[in-house]
Amino acid sequence: MKHHQYFALVAGLLFALALTWGLAQEGSGGPAEGAELGAQIAQQGTPGGAAPCMACHGAEGAGIQGTPFPRLAGLDFQYIVKQLRDFQEGNRTDPTMTPMAMGLQPNEVEAVAAYFSQQSPPPLPTDQDAAQVAAGRLIAERGIWGMYVPACSSCHGPAGAGVGHTFPALAGQNAAYTVKQFQNWRTDARHNDALGMMQAVVDRMNDEQIAAVAAYYQSLGAAGTGSE
């Protein structure tokens, strides 16, 4: 117990020092400063009890094929911050991730977001079925308007690049994770999407269509850098 508190104190002091140094160097706050702390958390976890991110999200947030955990590399900084805060506030729940998010201090949330938003590790290996990918591409680019499903690209941007801070990049995203998010929106385990735009469409798509879209986006390789 005491050891733990001591560690937190030292970590806090170190961070304060690093922050002061960073402010002196850069003269302004921003995601770049937290990235070093973020890298440390990704590898070692936090004093507050968050496990090392890389255990589930892979080295540099590349994702791990065969798990339902997301690739974080290259996602928008503000998007990641919002997701972590939403986990903390219960707008998004997950038995694995919620306790991790609870173990992050506000500055640590920003630090890991800064770190992962700046990474660009190699894409996950893709072994998807070509016909499934082609079917997914049709839905992603043209929608299923007969079921009132707009094209995914009309919000997530061309080739899953992601748009602004609200619509995450999908290119290279772990397909198993994408499929799981559709389930989470259906069950309301996730209800943090802008204007409920995802919740509105998930019930209009069948499992086959969802799997196809997820496979298509993973097949696109590394995540886009998002928009300016």
Binding site: R142, G143, W145, M147, Y148, V149, P150, S153, S154, C155, G157, P158, A161, G162, V163, G164, T166, Q183, R186, T187, A194, L195, G196, M197, A200, V201, D203, R204, M205, N206, D207, G224, G226, S227, E228
Partner: protein, 337 residues
């Protein structure tokens, strides 16, 4: 002691059974949800109304005609490829004609192929399908249509006509035509209320400044006003048209998300901002508004908003001219009185 342990064991098993049971019920409910997809509900067709389901591109037979139809599809759905040629805006035909121009209450375009030629009050002449398409480019796209008789104009005609396959010629009572019509607003549409609606519901996609969002050079969410948007002659500048579009189509995929009053208010707010000049501009905004009062009585063009008269300028956006040569209209008919 041993009895107590056994009791605790039984409790544990009971708890586990309960959890599994609840999980099973929950997953059964998931299944039920998937069987009854929540598509938006529009009022059903009234008696005698014609309802048409356009064919999809998968049904296209191969050949030169299919190539032309696909070219039409490309111009219609990827209009930004033709920026500086057919459009000087950041809009795409499908920005307003949702779902590739095939969706009910989202201004499906196939009725143009079955109801034209017809007389249109907008330009006081009988319009062909080509004339109608040309108008869209001149106003909504702030551009200039492919030349009459060109392969690209024929391609657009072919695309419209393909989607009309099987629909009866001349039938005017069409279900889901245009954006539908909203009943008159309960409260007079209001700029300030509209601004609140905009900030809470529209800005997330179209930006706090209404200028849309891009990825690199590619427009993802179109601008709602300003140089890159539709010009002052576009049908969307009419408040009732915009209100019906918004109510039945916005946010994307969620018709009827806003109340009708909110749609009226935000339509007024959106159309109370500057945009490129009406190609019918005579050099005087009041005169232009008066000359085209059958149209502009429904817009804010020439009206004062926040101390500024809207449309009182020579700005044509990125378009280096005011009026495309393809834009034809007859002089207004003599006043009736």
């Amino acid at each position: 002691m041993r009895a107590q342990a056994r009791f605790q064991g039984a409790l544990l098993i009971l708890a586990a059974a309960l959890i599994i049971g609840v999980a099973l019920i929950a997953s059964a409910q998931d299944g039920a949800q998937q069987e009854a997809p929540a598509t938006p509900s529009f009022p059903p067709p009234t008696e005698g109304q014609y309802r048409h389901t356009p064919p999809t591109l998968d049904e296209l037979p191969e050949g030169p005609l299919a190539d032309s139809i696909l070219r039409g599809w490309e111009i219609f759905n990827e209009t930004q490829k033709f920026k500086g040629v057919y459009t000087y805006s950041d809009m795409t035909c499908a920005s307003c004609h949702m779902g590739e121009g095939a969706v009910e209450f989202a201004a499906p375009v196939w009725p143009a192929a079955t109801t034209l030629p017809a007389y249109r009050g907008k330009n006081w002449r009988v319009n062909s399908l080509e004339d109608r398409i040309s108008d869209c480019f001149a106003y909504s796209m702030n551009g200039v249509a492919p030349a009459m008789g060109s392969d690209d104009m024929t391609a657009l005609v072919a695309y419209h006509t393909w989607m009309a396959q099987g629909a009866p010629m001349g039938e005017g009572n069409i279900y889901g035509r245009g954006y539908g019509t909203l009943p008159e607003a309960e409260l007079e549409p209001d700029y300030a209320r509209g601004q609140t609606v905009f900030e809470n519901n529209c800005a997330v996609c179209h930006g706090a400044d209404g200028q849309g969002q891009r990825v690199g050079e590619e427009v993802v969410f179109p601008p709602l006003w300003g140089d890159g948007s539709y010009n002052w002659g576009a049908g969307m500048t009419r408040i009732p048209t915009a209100a019906a579009f918004i109510y039945n189509n916005m946010p994307l995929g969620q018709p009827h998300f806003l109340s009708q009053q909110e749609a009226w208010d935000v339509a007024l707010f959106m159309n109370s901002h500057e945009r490129p000049q009406d190609p019918r501009y005579t050099g005087d905004v009041a005169e232009t508004r008066e000359k085209h009062s059958n149209f502009h009585s429904l817009t804010m063009y020439g009206q004062e908003v926040n101390g500024v008269v809207l449309g009182d300028h020579d700005n044509t956006g990125a378009k280096p001219f005011l009026r495309p040569d393809t834009l034809l209209f007859e002089p207004p008919p003599p006043a009736e009185d």
